[in-house]
């Protein structure tokens, strides 16, 4: 998809715009059918993307509680967020921890596991299935199960850590460990990233490795000079997707802790959700302002990653 995005951009560049009046009757007919076929999506994008995108920006300058019409308050919410909402910074910091930690876990562990499975291992399908299964489990059920995995008194994780002489950790009672608990839980979805990486690794032609071997490259050199450069498009896209997803972490936190202890697991979207749907009266305007700040942050991250990609993402010559 990264390549699709790139090729879509380049397809746009340097192309003569076709004028409707220049089109032949045949082409006009074709274009009409084209518009007809994409019409559902086009209407959808206006209704479910453009409208809410613009509306939430407007709402962020109002006080709005659903029942009464919105009342204009200017930049008041933004002022409040930046100067008088300690939970804004706190939730942003918690979210940053989650983004950094979970993306690193998914990329590094996912890549490592894919490398292991790409060594002509026996029962490949079995391992892949075992690693992938947890990520198809509905998140509500997963959260309930992990509440007990992370149970301080009798949980599986403390039992496991006991073998290494680590005494019981009170995961969700101790602000220092609560976010770490969610990071450990995020290993659940490593299988998805691994499957994607594995497919990428399997696509690397054997000849490249043979050539590297003839040139005397050892295993580490082959990894750094052949495998990783060829995998950068996949790594790039996965970093992007996972960062966007991780910034919006919500469901497991909502179910498992609700932000406790002492807001140590209050994530950004949880904070935003509480303002819109938990507090009375609902503060939809304030929540919209929070949402727009989140959008700007995600947009900035995306832009930086996309811009940096030219330096480190390597596309094989000739491929679009």
């Amino acid at each position: 998809m990264a390549t699709a995005f790139g090729s879509q951009f380049s397809a746009l560049r340097g192309r003569r715009r076709e004028r409707w009046s220049d089109l032949s009757p045949m082409r006009k007919r074709e274009a009409k059918f084209g518009f007809l076929f994409i019409a559902p999506w086009f209407i959808g994008v206006l209704l479910f993307a453009l409208f809410p995108f613009v509306a939430s920006f407007v709402l962020s300058f109002t006080k709005y509680n659903i029942v009464a019409p919105p009342r204009w308050v200017g930049a008041e919410h933004y002022e409040h967020i930046f100067t008088d909402d300690p939970l804004f910074l706190k939730s942003l910091r918690n979210t940053a921890v989650y983004v950094g930690g979970s993306v690193a876990i998914r990329i590094v562990l996912g890549f490592a596991l894919a490398l292991l499975l790409n060594t002509k291992v026996r029962f490949l399908g079995l391992w892949r299935t075992l690693f992938y299964v947890p990520s198809v489990v509905p998140i509500v059920a997963l959260s309930i199960v992990w509440l007990y995995v992370l149970n301080a008194r009798a949980g599986l994780l403390n039992w496991f850590l006991g073998f290494f002489g680590i005494s019981r950790i009170r995961w969700f009672a101790d602000p220092d460990f609560a976010m770490l608990a969610f990071l450990i839980m995020s290993t659940t979805w490593v299988g998805v990233t691994m499957v994607i990486f594995l497919a990428g690794l399997q696509g690397i032609p054997e000849e490249y490795y043979d050539a590297a071997k003839i040139d005397g490259a050892n295993m580490v050199q082959r990894l750094w000079r052949v495998t990783i450069p060829l995998m950068t498009p996949t790594i790039y896209l996965n970093v992007l997707i996972n960062i966007i997803g991780a910034f919006q972490v919500f469901t497991q936190v909502f179910i498992m802790t609700g932000g406790a202890p002492r807001d140590a697991t209050r994530t950004y979207v949880l904070h935003l959700f509480d303002h819109a749907f938990q507090y009375l009266p609902p503060q939809m305007g304030y929540s919209s302002a929070l949402a727009w700040i989140l959008f700007m942050i995600i947009f900035a991250f995306t832009a930086v990653i996309v811009a940096s990609s030219q330096r480190w993402v390597f596309y094989q010559g000739g491929e679009e």
């Binding site: 699709a4 951009f9 074709e30 809410p52 939430s56 992938y132 509905p138 009798a154 039992w159």
Partner: protein, 294 residues
């Protein structure tokens, strides 16, 4: 003399490489087994503890096999949780969403793949860009709009948007359509088939593999959705499995009944696992498509 020396040296290095290879393999399988246990243990424990007596669930060190098998955990859980109602609601939402997703996404994908029209590439770029729009930004205006037209406490907010296409599914399907040879379409056109007949009778049957992937992703999406039903469905009779399960575990006084909670979780997970094992290949394909193709 020297020949024998090199030979024995060769033998020694042979033995050495063989030894490192064996150690490497042991290490490799060791790690794989460890990671499998890491991924599977929570699910295995969920299943096992759903049959345990309550006093066994909380023991430390952890026990894995029920001392007494107690299937009544399931029937007890059902007393507090209207499984039938939530199951039916989830099925309704899932099936209608599935129909909507498949119908709209194949149509739109075909439009992008097979017709030339002004602004096509710009529009497709917009489609890809919407994938990056965080749901949090859309949440409030969409909710307010549904509230204004009286759709809160109906299934419409969870079903209707799926009839307007999903950017990611459209992308998958378009890639697939692009791979179908143009000759087939030209042949159909020469035979005088209309655009819609070509679409329904030539393209759709050919696109079956892509449609199965979309169907699975759509099923997973609706079945697992939590936030949507949480804000749109307040009436307990409309709750989905996800919300039912969540409410069951957060009922006052139910907090400690771990074995029943696990039984309830198993009931929600089982259908997904069955579908997963039936269509494993397509699940993996779906994950792959999301990550790399293009």
């Amino acid at each position: 003399m020297s020949a024998i020396a090199t030979q024995s040296a060769n033998l020694r290095s042979d033995a050495l490489t063989r030894a490192t290879r064996i150690i490497g393999r042991i290490l490799l399988y060791g790690i794989l087994i460890f990671m499998s246990l890491w991924f599977i243990a929570p699910l295995f424990w969920m299943f096992m503890s759903s049959f345990m007596p309550l006093e066994q669930v909380g023991v430390f060190p952890v026990e894995w096999i029920p001392r007494v098998w107690q299937p009544e955990n399931y029937t007890d859980a059902l007393k507090f949780w209207k499984f039938g109602t939530t199951f039916r609601n989830t099925m309704i939402i899932t099936i209608f969403s599935l129909v909507g997703d498949i119908g709209s996404c194949t149509l739109v994908a075909y439009g992008f793949a097979r017709f030339r029209f002004p602004f096509r590439d710009t529009l497709f770029l917009i489609l890809l860009a919407t994938l990056m729009l965080p749901f949090a930004v859309r949440l409030i205006p969409v909710y307010a709009a549904y509230d204004a037209i009286g759709w809160i406490d109906t299934f419409y907010p969870l079903i209707v948007p799926n009839f307007f296409g999903n950017a990611f599914y459209i992308f998958i399907c378009r890639q697939f359509f692009l791979g179908i040879p143009q000759d087939l379409l030209d042949a159909a056109k020469i035979d005088g088939a209309s655009e819609f007949r070509i679409f329904t009778q030539v393209m759709i049957p050919l696109a079956k593999p892509a449609i199965v992937v979309i169907a699975i992703l759509s099923f997973q999406n609706s079945w697992n959705d939590f936030l949507g039903p949480l804000i749109y469905l307040k009436d307990p009779d409309l709750h989905t499995l996800a919300i039912g399960l969540y409410k069951f575990t957060s009922l006052p006084g139910q907090g400690g009944i771990y074995n029943q909670q696990m039984a309830a979780s198993v009931m929600m997970v089982l259908p997904v696992l069955i579908v997963f094992f039936m269509f494993q290949k397509q699940f993996i394909q779906g994950a792959n498509l999301s990550g790399m193709k293009g």
